[in-house]
Subunit: 368 residues, 2 copies
């Protein structure tokens, strides 16, 4: 079970990903965006949505269900709102341009929102929320996703992990950034357990028979066949608030699908009725709120900073080390990553070797 992890410098990895996207036919500027979204995930300590997904994008482009050239079409627009059709292009590019548009509208009118149809996997939702925070705004980003989560009192995977991301500036060194699936966990974390041979905690996953599944290998094998479903935040039933995680997930689905009259739930599986691959048709919803329209930005930043400092100074639970606020772990991870590089496990190393070979990438030598 011992893994040989290799640490790769951030800029090496960013450049390698940029080259991969270029060779896949993604235009230069777009390839920069895609690489930046992925490396940001790794830098922030979220390995599940970074370079480890690189081959997935490559495979989808090869399979013809993801368009390397992104046609970003604004199909409808008002002072504060827009509906965008991504035409099955790169989700990162669609997300980046959509949030830019929301920010522009918010700058002028106080708020901006963009609903997106026909997009694809766009990496971490937090990236887009952070774009607004860097502009002195509140950024909010949602996306729907492939069906994997069961509604409360169901065992069938119907909803995606439907994350909510919220970011804003503070007077501290790093922004507040909440970025989380509305399910308890996501598949990437179960894959991590598989690599170290550990069982899945009871409560994360439900089987078709209604029992809480813990056999990690069986779960990973059974998920694609719909034999298992992830549970919403709050767990099974209602006693611990599972209906709240479920409700939040449906809220995300509504915002991402219904404001652009697009696909939803099982139609996001990436397969048609006969089991043939097709575009995932994801929907997103982006929102920017210009803080200066409400209060002076520095006042807002001070208030938020005060809230966060008071929370971290609360009484620590016996046995616990410290209290964090959202975005703080990512900040600490980023410091480590800049110094030490990004840790790549053997499976990711293998993927990158394949990409290097198949695409003939000589510009960036891999240190393994």
């Amino acid at each position: 079970m011992e893994e040989k992890v290799v640490y790769v410098p951030v800029e090496t990895l960013r450049e390698f990903m940029y080259q991969v996207f270029l060779k896949c036919g993604v235009p230069e500027d777009d390839a920069r965006i895609c690489a930046d979204v992925l490396i940001t995930s790794d830098i922030r300590g979220i390995p599940s949505h970074g370079v480890n997904r690189l081959k997935m994008y490559y495979d989808r482009i090869k399979r013809g269900i993801l368009s390397p050239v992104t046609r970003f079409e604004i199909v409808r627009e008002s002072e504060t709102t827009a509906v965008v059709d991504g035409h099955h292009g790169m989700g990162h590019v669609i997300g980046y341009k959509s949030m830019k548009l929301a920010i522009k509208k918010a700058r002028e009118y106080g708020m901006g929102a963009v609903a997106v149809r026909n997009s694809s996997h766009y990496g971490i939702a937090g990236y887009y929320a952070l774009m607004a925070a860097e502009e002195g705004m509140i950024g909010i980003a949602f996306t729907n996703a492939r069906p994997s989560v069961a509604p409360t009192f169901s065992v069938e995977p119907m909803l995606g992990t439907n994350p909510i991301a919220f970011a804003c500036p503070t007077d501290e060194e790093f922004p507040f950034c909440f970025d989380a699936a509305t399910s308890i966990t996501q598949r990437g974390k179960i894959e991590v357990l598989a690599r170290v041979g550990k069982p899945t905690p009871a409560g994360w996953v439900i089987g078709r028979d209604g029992t809480l599944a813990t056999d990690t290998e069986a779960i990973l094998k059974g998920i694609p066949e719909g034999k298992y479903a992830l549970l919403p935040l709050g767990g099974p039933g209602e006693e611990m608030g599972g209906h709240k995680g479920y409700g939040l997930s449906v809220m995300v689905e509504i915002l991402c699908a219904a404001l652009q009259s697009g696909a939803f739930l099982k139609d996001l599986s990436g397969f048609d009725e006969r089991g043939n691959p097709r575009p995932h048709q994801l929907g997103h919803f982006f929102m920017a709120i210009d803080i200066a329209h409400f209060v002076p930005l520095d006042e807002f930043e001070r208030t938020v900073g005060e809230i966060l400092r008071k929370l971290r100074a609360a009484e620590v639970a016996p046995g616990a080390e410290r209290i964090y606020t959202a975005g703080q772990k990512a900040y600490l991870a980023a410091k480590r990553a800049q110094k030490k590089g990004i840790p790549l496990n053997e499976s990711v190393q293998r993927d990158l070797k394949i990409l290097q070979e198949e695409l003939g990438i000589k510009e960036v030598p891999l240190p393994f």
Copy 2:
């Protein structure tokens, strides 16, 4: 432990509450709003935020920390945004007028948002979200609240139950309405357990010693002294996603406090440093999104309806009865309430008797 519950017709109860507010010095139009917000909670099957709180408002007005006459002051305004000072008036009136303002802005510009300072307990957040849904919009309402919830890895009550409410129209008989605390539960539910002599489920509440508390009587006695704290959605620690409920709660705190440079966390306790009662200084945040700015309203309603119907038609877990969507239980409860009336337990009956006597209410005879 047997309780004598009396069912009171909806309109009797509404009228009684209206009279109480009037006699407390609330102006006629405002008293109508307050009574409507409270009765809506009871009608929707949320007894914790309805008539059972009536005496609390009365007590606060008597104590001088809640102003029966609401001075609703717009201190700053732009096309889509406003900051409101409620001057410690009635939260329901402040909430109602704020959401009206957000809706007006959204009608013209696509979106509207109002941040509120110096408000007070406004009943169910869902009421305000539903106001927008009735206007063909998405409504979102947040509020902060008295400190009762511990951050992840803490045992100290720092955050309020900080609810998120989201409502929108559908093509069905009732709107989608998600309205939930970002904690697993709230005090009202523990009070219900006390009345029937049941223990509190392990995971709802944490003691200062870090253990999960289950002694319902001890919890209710200890909460006002800060001996216990509610846990965020996801429970203690991070394994089941407790940091997600915590993060959502902080998001709500930021939206409700920092966009209006107001009070937050422990300053919302209703007491000053010397333990003297003072206004709660709550903050709210309201948002309206005009659907027609994105897609035709009927198209949106159909998409949402389809999503909800597919969710309810998913495979039911063995042993479970059916799958609900948010707002459905409230719809069923409302049907029952209109037919059967609102059930009042003995403690609420006692409160209403006191109010009847102290305020000399003869206009509405109570049927107990």
